[in-house]
């Protein structure tokens, strides 16, 4: 049995994952992200409490997408994201998504999920919507 989820098994209303994920905004992860994207802005620091780039979201969203157990080869089609406040290194976020739609267009299987990231005290940090083309079932 494949460890990947089949498209037909994805349902609107599914929580991803069933229990929220935890993501620490680690300074090394931030440093690697900034280096990989060539971002040398002096907005950010590497010590706990320093401001982290909001688009570190693109790292924690991958954790969320992995939790779907989709097959390899999927494509990120659309992305909406709104930031509600800055984030800081050392913070721990709680992440969860929910499947809100699935449809086939031009023979491509799409999955839409809304997500939220919250701080330890429940404050909303970011929210948005990810639209993906599901990878070929294994």
């Amino acid at each position: 049995m494949s460890r990947f989820r089949r498209y037909e098994d994805v349902s609107v209303g599914d929580l991803i994952p069933p229990e929220p994920l935890s993501f620490e905004i680690d300074s090394q992860v931030c440093g690697a992200f900034l280096a990989a994207t060539g971002n040398d802005a002096d907005l950010y620091g590497v010590c706990d409490g320093d401001r982290a780039p909001s688009m570190i979201a693109s790292v924690y969203l991958i954790d969320l997408l992995k939790a779907r157990c989709s097959p390899p080869g999927g494509i990120h089609a659309k992305q909406a994201i709104r930031f509600h406040r800055t984030v800081r290194t050392g913070e721990c976020l709680s992440l969860q998504g929910r499947i809100t739609d699935k449809y086939v267009r031009k023979e491509r299987p799409y999955v839409v999920a809304d997500f939220e990231a919250r701080s330890a005290d429940g404050e909303l940090v970011s929210s948005g919507r990810i639209t993906s083309i599901w990878g070929k079932d294994q």
């Binding site: 990989a36 907005l43 992995k66 390899p72 909406a80």
Partner: protein, 151 residues
């Protein structure tokens, strides 16, 4: 363009930005090494990005860059324009309309279309202009609360 605040600045320290200033143009040269470095940093090792053999059998015939990597460039451009305010309360809503390949130069900027109301906020609506050579790679908008909205 407003000068960015220093490392560790409180979020409320983001300086007011000049809505009338043109958005900066940012360029990045994308290579397979850049894609691989992003894959390692983000944890997204989808073979369509990093495995040429796997990607050769896929819809694009070769590896493509991560869409979220392009979005990171957009985010950096918007933060440079707003002096960091984008990190605080900015918003992006886009579609990835064409792939970015190794060897592409990606150019990212935006054009202020209007000041409008959106979900109870007064925002600058910015049409994002993102190209790899002549190809449009991303379509959509960013929404940045105006200074009066920035807490």
């Amino acid at each position: 363009m407003t000068v960015a605040t220093g490392a560790g600045a409180r979020s409320s320290d983001a300086e007011k930005f000049d809505l009338a200033a043109p958005l900066p143009v940012m360029s990045r040269q994308v290579t397979q090494s850049v894609i691989d470095a992003y894959a390692a940093a983000s944890g997204d090792r989808n073979p369509i990005h990093v495995d040429p053999e796997f990607a050769a059998a896929g819809p694009f015939g070769r590896t493509i860059a991560h869409g979220l990597m392009t979005l990171a460039y957009v985010s950096e451009m918007l933060n440079r324009w707003t002096g960091g305010a984008f990190d605080e309360n900015g918003e992006i809503d886009i579609a990835f309309v064409a792939p970015v390949f190794a060897g592409d130069q990606v150019d990212v900027t935006g054009e202020l279309e209007e000041i409008c109301d959106r979900e109870g906020r007064r925002v600058a609506r910015i049409r994002l202009v993102c190209k790899a050579g002549d190809r449009q790679i991303l379509a959509g908008h960013a929404y940045q609360p105006t200074n009066a909205e920035n807490k």
